[in-house]
Amino acid sequence: MADESSSRGLWLGLAVILVVAVAVPWIVPGPGQRHYPHRKVVRFWHVWTGDWEKVVDGICDQFNESQTEYEVIPLSVPGDEADSKFLIAVAGDNPPDCMAQWQDVIPNWAESKLVVPLDTLMAPDEWEHQQKSIFPAALRIGMYKGHLYGLTVGMNVYGLYYRPDYFREAGLDPDHLPGTLEGLSAWAAKMDKVDANGNLIRVGFLPWGMRNFAPIFGGGFFDWAKGSLNLDTPENMRALEWLTDQHERLGFDKVVRFEASQHTASGGQGDWPFMTGAMAMDLDGQWRVQEVKRLAPDFDYRTAPIPPPAGGRSNAGFCNGNFMVIPTSAHDVAGAWAFIKFWSGLVNPQRAASFYTSGGWLPMNREVRDAPLYQDYIRQNPQFKTFVDLLESPNLYPIPPVPYQVYLSDRIDRMEESACIGSVSPRQAMDRLLLEMKRELRLRKEYGYVD
């Protein structure tokens, strides 16, 4: 009798758990709740979080209100895992209809036929028009083997941020920056500070990024005309040697120590060494303008393009961006494309300008930039103009569009790291990169990849 009653209790308990497990998802609203159940769904994945996510949600809401056919449902995916989640979703035949990304993925995904060539969704004359309207750097980010696979909805370009107060303190005139990189470097040395132990507590300028300085020195990693890698050039070597020299001047070990002490583990906002006073100048992206405005509106700073060295290129550097892709296996390509055109400004750039200003983003084409609303934004944020002006430059380059882009990018970073911590000479670091890439390309050939 006791056995029977305990067995009944067990079954009852299991039944309750089952009912709760089934009912909870229906009662608690999920992130993808529908507001327009009769429309076609466009599932949109992106990598923005925090305040940015709210802006993105707002754009999606506006799209949903602007027409009656589609409902975009956004989902924020953690940035570091976004590409692997995307691939798993594609492999499981359940991909989003479109996705915003910022990782170096376009060549790899395009080569694997994972994403739709967006130019094929445009009429020929429309594509021709857009190629003239879209900034050259935005096209380079999204193009692979003659097709546009990613449409940039927020360009990232890099410029010089500098503090007039530190300049004046060192007897330098912030209204007249040196015209050359060598001159800038000499000024930077006057603003370095060390503590009683000899540790750096402030640096004038701590340049970083071969991907930025190779183009500034007139080089780069890719022959865009031939479509092949171009790593070992005199310009690239000069850039690497100059970067190494800057670290050596400050002391290899001391720079590592200084850098480690400047960042939180999360690399979060608000601890930017330039803003906290540990740097007189810094090379950084346009998003800092919005960040400063939010976190320290009275902070006095200015921006400018990095001046070129003798024989280098002006308005040059690295560019990347947030771009939209449509998976080949998307359930609603037309809906995804309508949303991308809405956001990017391919249609109604005047309206799209409000999206870019709300996020503090750089547009991908001239029509959005020239919209009155966007021009107002530049007037209200004068330091932003430096970055907007850079968009016209033909000297901005992303990581070369090759299918092994991530590996190449990692090994270039490794080359720079080794040279800039002084463990090998710049020449040795470059030679190792050449060996690594030669090996990688040989292996790819043996494995049957067609690059």
Partner: protein, 287 residues
């Protein structure tokens, strides 16, 4: 009938294990002979992945040697530290329960959280460790940013979670019959001889268990390196597990990563087999 109910209740686990462990485990054998990027169909390449990793991949050897070095240092250190700590915490002193709790607590702190805390502790300029060293008038090194300090920092950090093995050693110590100690005392044995000839021999089954688990854990070392150094500086902390992860998820080279994983599996199996083979010579079961 009873058996059937048992199987029914563990069926969620059985089904999960079948589809998410056994299935992928077997599939990875096939993938290791292919080039495979998750999305496109695998392309058969025969032994190419194994040939490449043994004869044409410096990062494979770098990862393997780094991991072996870590296992060779961190595991014995963990055993010595764990046994030592357990012996100390086995003393009959007032408040011992509190000490045991204090030493055990770090082992239940999530690895990610403790890794982030250690990044701050080991910060070369503003970290606690170098601040203490500075009191001696010496400037501490760039712990996580310079080789070989980054590797040794991770080895040192492994001692942070000694509490987990310490508890097992402590349980082992409690199992040693007190009659043996009483007889030894009557025979005039001092504390060192009692430890050397009674405690340690009777603790060897537990040491054996922790050695096997420690070696397997060391070969799979990943999280701390992923969070704290990302394999740097200059690949000096690119442990084998981290390299598999990079190959699989960063370069989408699933076939190659599968081959790497199988080599790791075989390496762990071999090392564990060697440990088992030798255990009859040094593990004492009291019979």
């Amino acid at each position: 009938m009873k058996n059937r109910w048992g199987y029914l209740f563990i069926s969620p686990w059985l089904i999960g294990a079948l589809f998410f462990v056994v299935g992928p485990f077997i599939a990875s054998v096939y993938f290791s002979f292919t080039r495979y990027d998750i999305v496109n169909s695998p392309v058969w390449v025969g032994m190419a992945n194994y040939k490449t990793l043994f004869f044409d991949d410096p990062l494979f050897w770098n990862g393997l040697l780094t991991t072996l070095e870590y296992a060779a240092v961190a595991v014995p250190l963990g055993i010595i530290g764990g046994v030592g700590l357990a012996l100390l915490l086995n003393l009959e002193l007032p408040g011992m329960g509190i000490y045991r709790t204090i030493f055990y607590l770090p082992s239940i702190v999530p690895v990610v959280a403790s890794s982030v805390v250690f990044m701050w502790l080991l910060n070369p300029q503003i970290g606690l460790v170098n601040s203490l060293i500075r009191l001696l008038g010496v400037e501490g090194p760039n712990w996580l940013q310079k080789r070989p300090f980054a590797f040794w920092s991770l080895v040192g950090m492994s001692l942070w979670s000694l509490g987990g093995s310490m508890i097992i050693y402590l349980a082992g110590l409690k199992d040693v019959p007190t009659t043996l100690y009483e007889a030894a005392v009557i025979d005039g044995a001092g504390a060192w001889n009692r430890t050397r000839h009674i405690t340690l021999p009777l603790l060897t089954p537990v040491i054996f268990f922790n050695l096997v688990m420690g070696v397997i854990g060391a070969f799979q070392y990943f999280t701390q390196a992923y969070i704290m150094t990302q394999g740097g500086p200059e690949d000096s902390t690119t442990f084998y597990g981290l390299y598999i992860f990079f190959r699989a998820w960063r370069y989408l080279d699933m076939g190659y990563a599968s081959a790497l994983a199988w080599v790791l599996f075989l390496a762990i199996t071999c090392v564990t087999a060697v440990i088992f083979k030798t255990h009859s010579k040094w593990v004492f079961y009291g019979r």
